[in-house]
Symmetry: D2
Subunit: 276 residues, 4 copies
Amino acid sequence: MNNKENIINCLDKGFVRLIDHMGDDAAIVQAARVSYGDGTKSVNEDKGLIRYLMRNKHTSPFEMVEFKFHVKLPIFIARQWIRHRTANVNEYSGRYSEMKDEFYVPNIENIKAQSKNNKQGRSNEEFSEDLAQNFLKSLEGNQSFLYNEYRNYLDQNVAREIARINLPLSNYTEWYWKIDLHNLFHFLRLRLDKHAQFEIRVYAEAICELIKPIVPFAYQAFEDYEINSVNLSAEEIRTLKNIIDLNNLDYSNSKLSKRELEELEIKIDKIKKIIE
Amino acid sequence: MNNKENIINCLDKGFVRLIDHMGDDAAIVQAARVSYGDGTKSVNEDKGLIRYLMRNKHTSPFEMVEFKFHVKLPIFIARQWIRHRTANVNEYSGRYSEMKDEFYVPNIENIKAQSKNNKQGRSNEEFSEDLAQNFLKSLEGNQSFLYNEYRNYLDQNVAREIARINLPLSNYTEWYWKIDLHNLFHFLRLRLDKHAQFEIRVYAEAICELIKPIVPFAYQAFEDYEINSVNLSAEEIRTLKNIIDLNNLDYSNSKLSKRELEELEIKIDKIKKIIE
Amino acid sequence: MNNKENIINCLDKGFVRLIDHMGDDAAIVQAARVSYGDGTKSVNEDKGLIRYLMRNKHTSPFEMVEFKFHVKLPIFIARQWIRHRTANVNEYSGRYSEMKDEFYVPNIENIKAQSKNNKQGRSNEEFSEDLAQNFLKSLEGNQSFLYNEYRNYLDQNVAREIARINLPLSNYTEWYWKIDLHNLFHFLRLRLDKHAQFEIRVYAEAICELIKPIVPFAYQAFEDYEINSVNLSAEEIRTLKNIIDLNNLDYSNSKLSKRELEELEIKIDKIKKIIE
Amino acid sequence: MNNKENIINCLDKGFVRLIDHMGDDAAIVQAARVSYGDGTKSVNEDKGLIRYLMRNKHTSPFEMVEFKFHVKLPIFIARQWIRHRTANVNEYSGRYSEMKDEFYVPNIENIKAQSKNNKQGRSNEEFSEDLAQNFLKSLEGNQSFLYNEYRNYLDQNVAREIARINLPLSNYTEWYWKIDLHNLFHFLRLRLDKHAQFEIRVYAEAICELIKPIVPFAYQAFEDYEINSVNLSAEEIRTLKNIIDLNNLDYSNSKLSKRELEELEIKIDKIKKIIE
């Protein structure tokens, strides 16, 4: 990250730049306290409150923080990204302006075979380097050919909005994107996931780096309770029945707070009822 | 439930009535299959697909089912309910029309003391019957007094929009409420929770009864994966370290499908990494 | 329109199909009447109420009607369409499934020059038929070439999600799209406009045909008060000062209802104040 | 307004306080220019661009500005306000905390009779001062009585969430409210209107004062094109036929810009077609 610019390069020609934000951890606490009719407290209590809100899905205080990003990204990623509806967008327009001669070309190590067990993703296995080289070569050749065609149409005065329809999905576009922290966490939860397409994960990870310094407690809570948690259905718990020995509980080395231990006991009770 | 009318009475004078719906389990499947480029399959595969979507939070197909309810409810509950923004509402208006002489009076067993450990709720302990009787008596007396005052103002031709400002939050209102199934599940998740106020839980439970026959697979999946699941943070798992013996895994009696067992193994790996 | 199928073909290979709807004109009236505390009235009064709601932008009752469409459309149109956020979408996925060999090829009369005074649109003037022929020829040639490349990559087992990135924006996709009538009218207002790209206007017009028989009063009110109205700013009215003679008012031949005439008088007063 | 505090008192005990904002007129321009692929221009061109965007309902750049307010308001106003769904809210909770002894008492000049021609509003005519005095006296007496009852219930340890249900709608609550400028303009359009209840208009007017210094060009454009414009339906134009003489057009004294004059001519053409 270039700290001065708050910009992180993504893929071969893209970037995410944090251009503005409203509020930080303190704004989350302030909004929550209006509900509780409480005033200012210590930093430690603020942290505890933020963690409590995250854990118990009291999401509205996180909506009080807003971020605005400038993003440059390939169109096929823009199409996945835009599905997150609770956000504001202004995108570069291929009707008003000429599309630029910039296309996404993957690194060779990201050319992979179709995954066998994941219908929507890439395999982790090695892919023939020869095939990958050929793929990249034809990819680049075609991008350059299509951009030339586009330029020719424009030179013949074909309207921009129709000349651009054969540009490929690898063409870069850019936009301003504004979103609140609650909805950004939702975006990140889905787009950091290993089932998300690699190319959008790169952007999600960049966004994490940009927001961490602004909402450190909220981000940590998001990691602890959302990213690094495990959700077990009743049937999964029953399946795990004989590896769980509830008689052996020992909280002496736990780093959980008093309130979290109380919450854990409620979960233990729920598990007990399921496996009995 | 009165099956003919699709209506369930709630509290002393309220109700939820399902007045229309668009789509059912089949509509969820149909929408999901357009993503996968697949056609019709067997009922069993439909059920499996719905459960897969729910488990993996592929929420958009659930948005393809829409419900419309007619609800009569006290204003203080309407104020909690309306916080769910992704829904459509038309409410009875105290500016256009006279408010009716109908007020919520709790059953005596629902008059409870303030909870000691739950700042937002009622205690489960017995409450003095005498005090509860007195409370109810003054509640009813005041409701009737305030409605008389309101009627008097109206008789003196005070504008409705200003005459009604001293009516109490226990006054009943009614509205039409339209919401898609994904957002309805979100509403239910929060309002079925034992931390939700008793009076709104009654409505949430009524809604469950009304929608179950229409989306039986989706509702069952919601119960299994959302209501009856347990979410454990990394630190909670570490705290539970010495009651888990991962060497003893045995899937032979499990009712999980093959795909679910694969998903469980990924969770087991995650747990392993946390407690090692 | 094929009435049996509720389907209208759009462009060369696309379509809009109305697959379900919830509610009609009566549902709008029913929702409005809950606000007014009123019951059923005559058809004529229903029509008047719907027109009153539209004219005065009481939009929430229109949200009580919901439509679900199946749409096949080129990706560059899908990118404009998806900007309407208050809707539900399930789209065919190029990660899960192979994209099909279907691309948009405009009719020759829709190949136009860039407009001189409209930066985002096509000129209305004649375009050289030779140039248009050449454009179409290269468009089709390139589409077919790019699809072959795509198929080759897939045959070499390149993952679908990466193989598709050089497919052009003219490639057809399809989706299920669900939206309420208020938000649909907003979509139509923008996409029927002559500044909208021709290719999306075709879909907007098809949607009008499909919904008209279901909500005839609401649709007529939309046309009368939204599409065929003229909005004049204060400065525009001042500019028109000497073509307006307010002393000459004569309502005797007007088809406006009594209520509308009262509303018109309020507007006349506003105009008077501006031009005095 | 207390400039230091950015706070404006509303009604007898309420207020609106602007506590934070993200972006200003420049942010609107910046977002619009990413669409047009343009860079920075002169202040005058910025103003022209903002006015163009407002006039032509290119609303998304206005979404790039965000405001956060702290508001204290009576519950019956909060119930109207919350209907604006595209906003973020954290409200004081009567389950967590004791409601305060603060109730709205109107000024005597705001006690009016029911309007005869406006079913939802107050008459403009004089109201008997005696009746108004009596109304206010009983209002205040009842507020004070009900708050005492509430305090008694709490002293007897009745749970807060149930003790508060007979508090009247005139009780003050408070919240944090965050909204983008586009949606704020929509709120203002509806709540500045003379059909809006007087008590919410007071808050809408306060918000105008608070945002004007931050987005002066956007606010001016909103006033010119939204508040002070007149919308005429085709039938209204036909009704006005004989007061319009289109042969007499003279733009020589107009303050409209060249682009606006071109837009006006398009409207004139539309009017011509309607009245011919």
